[in-house]
């Protein structure tokens, strides 16, 4: 279990993207981010903001059907979406190791479906849709020392 958790409330897709943009500067090759929570709560939106800030020019769209979309970049982005996955075994069939250890940033939507396969250091962000149309509650769980440190840097300046 992570030591400390953080809670952030965003009020628009743009605010969710901005939060992601601020995270981008803290990322290193090999980082894994797991996005969990409600359908339509902003997981792809968050990834779009992250990709933008990483310098990716191509449009980042939902990888639900494809399962994985790769974005070439100085720091490549591997965008997973496990919505359609029924068992972690299917993740093995996707050859996920090549991405996790592939020298880029791995973002996994619905990452809670494969918790047992995630590395010991990873950032988990759980999205919740609130009744107010555009408001989202993000809960941030840093896993491992790498993220306990980095999350404080990411969230602190705004608190």
């Amino acid at each position: 279990m992570p030591h400390s958790t953080f809670k952030v409330v965003t009020h628009s897709p743009e605010e969710t993207k901005e939060l992601a943009r601020r995270l981008a500067s803290l990322l290193h090759a090999g980082d894994v981010i797991s996005l969990t929570g409600d359908l339509g709560a902003g997981k792809t939106c968050f990834t779009q903001g992250l990709g933008e800030a990483l310098g990716i020019k191509r449009r980042i769209t939902s990888p639900t059907f494809n399962l994985i979309k790769e974005y070439k970049n100085t720091l490549p982005l591997y965008h997973f979406d496990l919505y359609r996955l029924d068992s972690p075994l299917e993740m093995l069939d996707l050859g996920y190791e090549e991405y996790f250890f592939g020298g880029g940033i791995t973002v996994i939507e619905w990452g809670d479906k494969v918790v047992s396969l995630l590395p010991s250091n990873y950032l988990e962000i759980s999205f919740k849709r609130l009744l107010d149309e555009n408001v989202r509650e993000l809960r941030i769980f840093p896993h491992g020392p790498r993220w306990e440190k980095a999350t404080e840097e990411w969230i602190k300046p705004e608190e």
Partner: protein
């Protein structure tokens, strides 16, 4: 048999996402076999559970699927004229299985190998059935993974006019159906329920209807539907499924018709061609037919089995590339983000 030898026989392999598929067509339009691994017949014959997902499962299925395509078509490898394979876009691991199989066959038989784009295949599904169809036209390809508006000027010459900024059309159907616990795949279920519903019952947003571009956005609509249902549940009200499905579907279709028509007018073409799994939606077909009729344009769409992923459409697209003398070499590679361009 004499006739068969004179025919141009194309074997195509398609493994861009979930389906392992192989097909043989003659003369660019006659389907002799069209095998898709999820087909009931194929299941019955080879048994076992075929998972929907898992690129490495393509490895187990690819040989039986190709063998079945040959056997159903009563064609031996030596009778073939050329081999065609999907190079992208799609899932890297899945695409690689198809390409490896196609290269091996090409190396072993000496047959020429042709590579095609999966999206191009969805457009070419129409050339299999509508022999009078000729470019130029505007094509809307709508499927689980794609929502693209394309100007096809001539064979092999495309211009991508617009696409989705977030979710694909088929994905929106699946996610809404999943959220409402209606089952999978969501498209046919929502289509059926909509038939008893009023498309004007609930006002959902028509995202990007008024924008000057040809792009689409569906994540806002998805959220609007989710919020609407959540609010009804909170109030303990019953969810009017037929009205909800019809209204959701109408919001998607309205924008698609509007942008497709505008593109056709701007490009001065009088034909619109639909493709992809969502083109099987009955309301989409009917609404497009009505709107095209009003403005005197012709509408084409494939029969339902040719809307979803299959290899016959890949064979057809490859046939036209073969006619132009296009070939790929044995060191060709797949591209998960293969752009639709050329010309």
């Amino acid at each position: 048999m004499v006739k068969r030898l004179a025919e141009k026989l194309i074997l195509a392999i398609e493994t861009s996402c979930d389906e392992t598929a192989a097909a043989i067509i003659a003369e660019g339009k006659i389907i002799l076999s069209n095998i898709v691994s999820s087909q009931v017949d194929f299941h019955r014959k080879f048994g076992g559970v075929v998972p929907e997902i898992a690129s490495r499962k393509h490895v187990e299925l690819i040989n039986p699927v190709i063998a079945e395509a040959c056997s159903q078509a009563r064609v031996a490898l030596k009778d073939l004229t050329a081999l065609v394979v999907t190079l992208g876009p799609g899932l890297m691991g899945a695409l690689l299985v198809g390409l490896a199989a196609a290269k091996s066959l090409s190396y072993a038989t000496g047959l020429p190998l042709i590579g095609v784009n999966h999206l191009e295949g969805h457009i070419y599904a129409n050339f299999l059935e509508h022999t009078d169809l000729k470019p130029p036209f505007i094509s809307l390809v709508v499927s689980g993974g794609h929502t693209c508006l394309i100007y096809m000027e001539d064979h092999g010459r495309y211009e991508l006019l617009g696409e989705t900024l977030d979710d694909a059309a088929g994905e929106a159907f699946d996610k809404i159906a999943g959220f409402l616990k209606l089952g999978y795949p969501g498209g046919p279920i929502i289509d059926d329920l909509s038939k008893q519903g009023d498309p004007r019952a609930i006002k959902f947003p028509r995202a990007m209807l008024k924008t000057e571009d040809y792009d689409f956005s569906l994540s806002g609509l998805k959220t609007a539907v989710l919020n609407h249902v959540t609010r009804l549940k909170e109030r303990g009200e019953e969810i009017p499924l037929p009205d909800l499905c019809a209204s959701f579907q109408a919001a998607i279709i309205d924008v698609q018709i509007h942008k497709t028509l505008r593109a056709a007018k701007e490009r001065g073409v009088d034909k619109v061609v639909l493709g992809g799994g969502v083109a099987a939606n009955s309301s989409l077909r009917e609404r497009f037919r009505q709107e095209m009729e009003k403005v005197g344009m012709r509408l084409f769409y494939p029969s339902i089995p040719l809307c979803t992923d299959n290899a016959a459409m890949i064979a057809c697209a490859g046939y036209y590339r073969w006619l132009k003398g296009e070939r790929i070499s044995l060191d060709a590679n797949v591209d998960p983000n293969l752009p639709l361009c050329g010309g």
